[in-house]
Symmetry: C2
Subunit: 359 residues, 2 copies
Amino acid sequence: MTELKNDCLLRALLRKPVNRTPVWLMRQAGRYLPEYRATRSRAGSFLSLCQTPELACEVTLQPLVRFFLDAAIIFSDILTVPDAMGLELSFSEREGPTFAKPVRSSSDIARLGIPDPEVDLRYVMDTIRLTRSELGGSVPLIGFAGSPWTLATYMIEGRSSKDFSRVKCLLYDQPEKMHKLLERITQAVTLYMNAQATAGSQVLMVFDTWGGILTPRNYREFSLNYMTQIITGLTRVVNDKKIPIILFTKGSGACLGDIAATDCDAIGIDWTVDLNYARSQVGSHVALQGNLDPAILAASPENIRKHVIQVLDDFGTGSGHVFNLGHGIRPWTDPEHVRILVDTVHELSSTYHNQDSTE
Amino acid sequence: MTELKNDCLLRALLRKPVNRTPVWLMRQAGRYLPEYRATRSRAGSFLSLCQTPELACEVTLQPLVRFFLDAAIIFSDILTVPDAMGLELSFSEREGPTFAKPVRSSSDIARLGIPDPEVDLRYVMDTIRLTRSELGGSVPLIGFAGSPWTLATYMIEGRSSKDFSRVKCLLYDQPEKMHKLLERITQAVTLYMNAQATAGSQVLMVFDTWGGILTPRNYREFSLNYMTQIITGLTRVVNDKKIPIILFTKGSGACLGDIAATDCDAIGIDWTVDLNYARSQVGSHVALQGNLDPAILAASPENIRKHVIQVLDDFGTGSGHVFNLGHGIRPWTDPEHVRILVDTVHELSSTYHNQDSTE
């Protein structure tokens, strides 16, 4: 593998000195880009876009052509893992993701396969290998998976849910069964993420979109617990390089100390807590990634700049900050507004770093 | 007015000693009750149910016939105020609430009426008077309104929203305009709540359903700020009785100290923070109301009891706790499970109070 030319993200995630704050954006490859919509339309469906390495690689690279981003993130979906476990995923414009075979009974859980990533999710691994090769060491490639809890919500509900009544009923009434399911998903996700690292992902991120719907006790027992097990199960060094791990739970403001106590390297933060508060909660244990409200991208260039500066100010000086949104880019976003965000971080963030201390 | 027979709620809200923890439930009058569905069907539509005092009073009282609750809450909807301001509210099964004339321009804001509660919202005032009379002093009657910020989200979006892009764009790009709108709503809500107290509401609650979608800074500036102004504008003593005020912002775990610093008497807490944590944040400034996850009501009687006890334990001993859910009762809830919740609080909560210290 070629040497990495821009290692700003990796250094910041490991809290090593940097010249400026690295920036990438959740859903940076996606519907807000006309070139994405063109490729998506060529692919026929969202799933076939995910499952065709050439096309998935193409959309992964699209935002890097436009913007000065410090990382690529593999184009995929967290639900490919439950699909490979046997749930039969499909997407519709109206309904969003749907599983033909949701998990409802103990026998459904027992029947769940543990996918062999190089066989059952080969298309992801091929996308990673192809994208690494295409990147040619320009920036690091981030791999990701859904948290066991978040995957379980979709696997039990069978689709997106408003009140999560089915999954919560299982949690409250049959916690042992819920734990059995989560153990199985954890096994699948750990294998999957290790395979991603072997295939070439240089950073791994766990998306826990729905951890925030739980009470703090249940969050620790049913979500954070399994993310911790994944971290324990990951090969942390591949080809002599440490693979930083980012945990992102949306709405986890009350549990930042608990998340920092895992062996993760960085925590993703949404916009409902300020970064100075988050930093005060986690000390120097971990780096922080975030946390601009994606809604700001509808505002004027002047106001976008103002709020980017606010986020940089909130984190303050020193390494350990990766600039990002607090959630994915919205489909209605004007790409030129994304450029303003990225360029502002590049132009202004060096003042938050002590140039002399850079190794 | 007849003397109040059960003043447990009022005492707890003012942190006076009580023999047991009072309990009422958000949306205790609602779709989960077959008798509610019968009255709703007689009314023809949800709006005509709200606007017919005899029927609104009937459904307000229904849960008190079934369960040993310590309060009635007037049956109404937070969107009746914007409707009276001229936005023309309607409800459909599929779409939920919709405004025919959403607020989009400065002239829309200038055009907004400030309703005279005894004229434009007379049906609410009549419902309050009728319900007070029907209650005969058995339990206190709670009146409520939506927070200016939460009402503004519906008034600008025109309906329920997923990502609040329109309202956030206004906030970020034209904060002065947003403040103008919020000032106007604050004026309307203050008049409306004062009129409710005069008509007979013995407790007032502000529902800030969408304060939690804001950054902490914006929450303070655009939501809490206006709830504070409402509190300042309220006549706090009516007929020599203090009217306790409860503020409830869903997802406000990071801002509890700020909310406690207003002149409210109690804070509503959702289930995403523990009551012991909440209590540590607010000290003895205010009472706390909450915070059982409404999803628990789908669980077994045994598990419901276990989690009710957990909430009582989390608050701990002493007055200043009002038992409630962390959000409204779900429509699918089995009324018998609600009974288990209410009865458990009644049976077990006396052990959290020092009998001797009761006045």
